[in-house]
Amino acid sequence: METIPIRVLFFGKAREIVKCDEQSERVPVDADYQRLFKMIFEERFPELKEIASSCMLAVDQHFCRPDSKVELYPNSEIAVIPPLSGG
């Protein structure tokens, strides 16, 4: 399976838990949302499991939902988005 490099970005409580702004990873080029979610919240950063149910992912600056189609490119930006609290 072909893998590509991606960047995983952390914000808010996720950044605090991971103690890191950004981390490079490699993922299968055809990974879907569920696969990315599982990879991030269970395999690579299991310390995020406690907030997983309230988080979503954004891929290349677009919010994704579990049924969203995901297209990954080399150096795609996957952001871990905890509940928003702007305003």
């Binding site: 970005l9 914000f11 808010g12 409580k13 950044r15 605090e16 309230s54 954004a58 600056q61 677009h62 919010f63 930006e77 952001a79 988005i81 905890p82 509940p83 928003l84 609290s85 702007g86 305003g87």
Partner: protein, 154 residues
Amino acid sequence: ATEKEVFEVIEAISRDFIKITSQTLELDAAMKLLRLPNCGATSIFIGTTRDTFDGKEVLQLSYESYDEMAYPELRKLCSSVRATFPTVERLIVWHRVGEVPVTEASVIIAAASPHRKDAIQAVSMAIDELKARIPIWKKESYADGEHSWKENEE
């Protein structure tokens, strides 16, 4: 893009004022952008840091933004507001990041339009959408040493 499309883009940019900044948000500066002789109505919302939450003393609020995503989302937000309230002439959406002391503004949203209902409702829609869609996070630090990452209800 045709010439007409290019001009539309330029006009859209110059009528929407979007800013995510660590600087103090200045209402006077916003007012200067809103003063238009053909607009009879200006509506403004200012969100400020409160000194208490759930009975706990709040020392400070700290905001962080995913800028690369927040800016395009703010542009989309402005487009939605304009699509809903087409008479809005000027739209301002400013958000402060970093530490925001108590009573200082974290957000200023403002709209100018010929008549009042559009300006008022545009601002109301914009703050609702901002809270629901813009990737910005707020951490509240309390006098007891604890802190909490907030979650918008809507």
